[in-house]
Symmetry: C2
DNA sequence: AAACCGACCGAGCGTTCACTCGGGAAATTG
DNA sequence: CAATTTCCCGAGTGAACGCTCGGTCGGTTT
């Protein structure tokens, strides 16, 4: 582990927990065991640190999705969608710092003025959405999913996961205990009748 | 409109758009047409300004829900739930500053250490959740809604709305165009079969 | 009229923080 | 080995900002 990587990892954790503005360079330096000057040797400025941390998170998230979804085989489309949902829940624990970083408002605010940031954020979201869409269109062909709009349904289900996960993060409701209920709700959205809904 | 109210309104808009840390007292003062000292005459400190703005938002939101849901009569439970969903979408435009303020991370972070803030945030969320729960249990009695867990389903649907609304706010997807698709998905969650799903 | 009081003002203070800079140590190159 | 580059350090700087404080002004009370 090089010092530069160490800085990025510390920055990820601190930005994720305290936000961009509430995280000082000196705090990152202390956490990474580096001097303040060292950070500005490796990165242009504080914003660059955030961007590089977000890029690192993008790599980790995409790799995880590739490994746990894209390289796996699913019996049918519905199961693939459920696989994506499951991966998202798992990643919220395995890569909690990285997802928290993505959820920070600074990511979106920076994305609206910085092209590099926008593509990074979009890439992460599309990674999930594409996998979800692929599962839905596969399911529409093999009959496990009803005739719904692929892209719209993907956005709705993904938005639902995001909203519920944020409830968990923000300590509003312990949504993790609702995993099976959420899966059930997603099945209802994807299948029209109750006949196909079973555990 | 007193100067104090003016300050709270300006604070709401600035906190909502820029966040707590990125909003300076001087900016609020300038926007409200007041001097910095005046703000500290009416409020203990910057955090107090935020808290009072959040409390003001709570009042506005609860009044709106009371007026548009609790005082209205619905033909059945399902329609009441759809009414709550509709109100939530409407409020995201009518009271956009107030909802944005609630969505700011500072609200949750402050809520975890400040009792007054926590009850304020909880009150706002419970306002929607209670209305939703009431609609669901009513629907289970009149037959318009299937036999689902009232509280769990309320959280899931509300979480879905929250997640999708944030997609809109964060400029990830223009979710407002999906209103009818979202309603349709909620109906599927609330009713087991496709027989009851119709526009 | 005198005393009082709340609303309001804005200069000033102390702190925090992003960023610079000059320099040292280690690695790389010729 | 000398020269050069890379990595790393931490004191110093200037700007931003939360908050204090002494003061003015208009209305109310005695």
């Amino acid at each position: 582990m090089t010092l530069k990587q160490n800085i990025l990892e510390s920055a990820t954790q601190l930005f994720a927990t305290n936000g961009f503005r509430n995280t000082s360079i000196s705090a990152i330096a202390k956490s990474a065991g580096a001097a303040e000057g060292t950070i500005f040797h490796h990165f242009k400025n504080k914003e660059d640190v955030f961007l590089c941390a977000l890029n690192r998170a993008k790599g980790l998230i995409i790799d995880a999705v590739d490994e746990q979804v894209n390289s796996r085989h699913f019996a049918n489309g519905l199961q693939m969608v459920e696989g994506v949902i499951n991966v998202y829940f798992c990643l919220s624990e395995q890569l909690s710092w990285e997802l928290l970083l993505l959820f920070r408002s600074h990511s979106y605010e920076l994305a609206s003025v910085n092209d590099a940031c926008r593509t990074t954020v979009e890439t992460i979201y599309n990674c999930f959405l594409n996998a979800m869409s692929e599962g839905i269109s596969m399911g529409k062909e093999d009959g496990s999913i009803a005739d719904v709009s692929t892209s719209k349904t993907a956005v709705i289900i993904f938005g639902m996961l995001n909203g519920l996960l944020r409830f968990d993060i923000d300590n509003i409701f312990p949504v993790h205990t609702l995993y099976f209920d959420i899966l059930q709700s997603c099945r209802k959205i994807l299948t029209n009748g109750s006949d196909e809904v079973q555990i």
